[in-house]
Point group: C2
Chain length 350, copies 2
């Protein structure tokens, strides 16, 4: 069996490349004394989470409880940071059930979330909670050191919680600014008698510059395991470092400058991440994936040079969201197919 | 139990509205003597496909074999048009297996696809094949009446196929042009002694103008069952006609002009369809869903006026792709919850 025997569209994952990526970034973190906590959103595969931990990662990162539940139950993972505000009695009860089984920490950027966690952990081993801080990305997170200290105090005073430190998802391409902002928060917390044990930062585009913000003790990174076109374009990795590709077939060549492939937004997704077109066609950088509908991808070039039945491999703009579209991915090693792997943490949104 | 008891994010489907939409468009098609063939990509739910047929639809439309397999096996559907070029022995064998069970037709826009279908149906009841024609949308389809006639002749001459007519996915907002182009193809085929039995057109934005292109005998429409923001903005439906909404919770209010909800691109998707922002917040048209990451949606307004824990309902830009993100949707009738329905044709890409 070869990749030619696999029906399309299919998502291929080259384990040789993925394992090399895991080892390379673990070595970087080890060299710089940074604890690595991979985000499993990229692969959603318990066995790859286990490999990341076996390679030296401190634990994993999940954003949703349902992801953590799968990784603990099927991946045997025993250290999880949930980088998402867990809110509401139903979710807090699930968080508590997980905390009874593994080393678990969560985050909060509001009094409402802190108070909900505290109420839900009454009678349990105290939950470790980090304060989520906005260092410029403008998503979640408190926006000043003063507010960060206020929440740290609230956590520290909560009978069923322990203050664990700081978590941020920093803006891209500003490690100096991240260092400055995190340092200010650390100083304010230390001055308040609450020095943060963990300072957790992350983000794939700046992964090789993590050491430029040394105030962070821990780094979270997801995409690095597969890599994608967005990271190639950002200079973070090379084409040959991309483990995930989408195998497609040309189903129509209506004109000399246009062809249609059997992967649309249901596989490649509409994520552009600021790029032109919807992916990079291996070996044919002249082809532009100009448009997607759900099941069609429209390729354009001055001379398309394709015929119906031709097969192509595409590096998607954003590999994490492609994983989430698929019930299974086809594992291989440098083109030799292994087994399909069910993407067991796919679609876990609650 | 009320919708307040449902954990978020969740996709809600109001069956009262969906049934009203099904009835209203069936009545329009009946009035104008147009055969309706709904595209099941929008709901991916066998029971809703059955309701569409029970209301008077001729059959259903699928783009992928795996969708058709589910709709036939679990929906009891007995008439399917596959509006996609089916290519390769593995897929053609699956098509043949379906054709042995139900009334089935497929499409082709190339000799390669026609010859593959003919080879795969040797010894079987001949497969009905329509010629896919491009009437301006520039996706699949032959681009001239001459090429359409050439393929019609090829199908007609193939021992294991019968010529079924024409299929097109027309460009938006040009029913006059579609009528003109389809008529030219019909004339050319009729002159060649191959008058098309079926002329199948479609598309939700122009669904209420289908009668303006009366050369089409059949109309395919998917989104009409749920409707979405793109169709509201196009004037095709009203807000109150939208059956699918996304129920979310505010998880963070970092500043007076920003809040974060627990649905990102893993629920709402990145589909913009030319619109500004990622959906319409019911009751709060001043809120802009300014950005999505996988699990976060960032809302912005001059005065955000939300607190952590508030729940909102969102009409997404594109409902079809939202269905595809979810393992299940929560059915309700005007706010009274029914059961969750597994989206059994979700993720069927092969």
């Amino acid at each position: 069996m070869t990749l030619d025997d696999i029906d399309t569209p299919a998502v291929l994952v080259d384990l040789d490349i993925a394992e090399r990526n895991i080892a390379a970034y673990q070595a970087y973190c080890d060299e710089h004394g940074i604890a690595l906590r991979p985000h499993i959103k990229t692969h959603k595969l318990p066995f790859l989470a286990r490999q990341q931990v076996a390679a030296g990662a401190r634990g994993i990162t999940c954003q949703k409880l349902s992801e953590a539940e799968v990784m603990i139950a099927e991946g045997g993972i025993d250290d999880v940071l949930i980088t998402y505000p867990i809110l509401g009695p139903a979710k807090v009860a699930r968080l508590r059930a997980l905390a009874e089984r593994v080393t678990l920490a969560s985050v909060a950027d509001s009094i409402a979330v802190i108070d909900g966690l505290d109420a839900g952990f009454e009678g349990a081993t105290p939950l470790r909670v980090l304060v989520e801080c906005d260092t410029g990305a403008e998503r979640c997170g408190v926006t000043s050191p003063e507010k960060a200290v206020e929440l740290a105090r609230r956590i520290d005073a909560a009978p069923n919680l322990t203050f664990g430190g700081i978590m941020t998802y920093p803006p891209k391409r500003d490690t100096a600014g991240t260092q400055e902002k995190l340092s200010a928060i650390v100083t304010a917390m230390t001055d308040a008698g609450l020095p943060p044990e963990t300072v957790s930062s992350g983000g794939s585009p700046d992964m090789w510059r993590a050491h430029e913000a040394p105030v962070a003790t821990e780094y979270r990174v997801g995409t690095y395991v597969y890599n994608d076109r967005s990271l190639v374009e950002a200079g973070t990795c090379a084409i040959d470092d991309c483990a995930l590709t989408v195998l497609v077939t040309v189903v129509s060549v209506p004109s000399a400058d246009r062809a249609v492939i059997d992967a649309g937004s249901k596989v490649l997704t509409s994520d552009l991440l600021g790029l032109d077109g919807h992916g990079h066609v291996l070996g044919r950088p002249d082809l532009r994936i100009a448009g997607l509908s759900e099941e069609h991808g429209v390729l354009r070039a001055d001379t398309i040079g394709l015929k119906v039945g031709d097969r192509l491999r595409i590096i998607p703009n954003h590999c994490c969201v492609v994983s989430n579209m698929m019930d299974e991915v086809q594992l291989h090693r440098s083109g030799t197919p292994l087994v399909p792997a069910p993407v067991v943490a796919r679609g876990k949104v609650v």
